[in-house]
């Protein structure tokens, strides 16, 4: 179920999601928050089993904190995604997979990044991406609307209209749209120690 969307622009990144949590043919919640903050520079949009997704995000948030304390500068967006992918891969290989998909969007010292990972642990960097049951519909909007060189505001509009379109035709998605954008200016600069 769910529709989530991530878009990369030159000015930053955008995540968007619907707000429906389904329990079979029943709508379990109409106000679900599917975009989770990792810190001021990175957010994750989740699709699938909420408990599995939240467990992975919490584990990675803790690991990120430990690593940045140890080495003195934060994990990049890709490194953060890799941590989620590692656990997902282990889960798949031990026949206890985490039933979740993730879009990780954030800004770091090397710029803005949007990455996707899933229960197999596969990891890919994308310009725009959507997952969840509504994603075929959302991709229709993204494929026709995405342009290179978009600014953050244009990407916000595109992301929410993609989710909006999915909510119209996918019974697993609905009840409103969340949009989050992270501008490049949020990135932590790595302080070069003399």
């Amino acid at each position: 179920m769910t529709t989530i969307v991530g878009i990369l622009t030159k000015d930053g990144v955008v995540l968007s999601s619907d707000k429906r949590a389904s329990k079979g043919f029943f709508i379990g919640s109409k106000v679900t928050q599917k975009i989770l903050k990792i810190d001021d520079t990175i957010a994750v949009a989740i699709a699938g089993q909420v408990s599995d997704a939240e467990y992975l995000v919490n584990a990675v948030r803790a690991e990120r904190t430990l690593v940045s304390l140890q080495r003195g500068y934060p994990l990049s967006v890709r490194e953060t995604t890799k941590l989620i992918a590692n656990i997902a891969y282990q889960g798949m290989k031990s026949y206890q997979p985490y039933f979740a998909e993730f879009i990780i969007a954030g800004v770091d010292a090397s710029g803005p990044h949007v990455l996707e990972t899933d229960m197999s642990g596969a990891l890919s960097a994308e310009n725009f991406v959507s997952t969840g049951s509504g994603s075929p519909v959302a991709y229709g909007v993204l494929e026709s609307g995405y342009k290179e060189g978009m600014n953050l505001e244009q990407a916000r509009v595109l992301a929410s209209s993609a989710v909006q379109a999915a909510m119209e035709r996918d019974p697993g998605s609905g009840n409103g749209v969340d949009v989050v954008s992270i501008p490049n200016s949020a990135a932590n600069e790595i302080i070069v120690r003399a």
């Binding site: 690593v67 080495r71 941590l83 790595i190 302080i191 070069v192 120690r193």
Partner: protein, 227 residues
Amino acid sequence: MESQQLGRTPYFYGPEGALVQVDFALEAVNRGSTTVGIRTNEHAILASYLKPTRPLLDPAEKIYQIDQHLGATGAGYIGDVMKLIQELRVNSQKHRLTFDSPIDVKTASEDLSAYLHQYTIYAVRPLGASVIITGKDPTGVQMYQIDPSGTYFRGSGFSIGAGSDRSIEIIQNGYRPNLSLEETVKLAKEAIKSATKDDNQVELGVVSNSSSRFEKINQVQVPSSAQ
């Protein structure tokens, strides 16, 4: 003391509170070949004295590539040094598998420090080796020294091995943060010469902000006696 008389576990602390085994390990390092590291604003070099070997024997390798961006050298028992080098190499590759990124110099040093520390709390022989690690990471060119106790230092000038008291003095006096690569190499060789009276057999490695690769410089000259 009682346990000592029973002839089972060795002692850890001496009556003064010193970790006796660790102090002995440090003494072993002081018998090793003179090895220095110098870090400037732009680059860092490692230099190690190659003890003259008998004819038909190749000198041992003393500067080790750890990863593309990381290098290390050591002084002390060569077997112990190699164990630490292997540990560094394995940790660097583990980091790449876990994070999809090269390990930073601080984490590499702290991992090795934790490894050495394990040998100070159990009834085992602490490794008789110190290493100097250098490399380029997002925080710039960094250099660390790690001792058998697990203590590590970050800095710009290090010397370990025989005569290191003398060679560190040469480095301290000649150091400027804006030394050129040639000047840094010269200073390192001078430092080694002050301790060994011989600068012919020196192996060198360098990493710089611009290239961000650690590379060995092959400057091992044929000793004049063999020409």
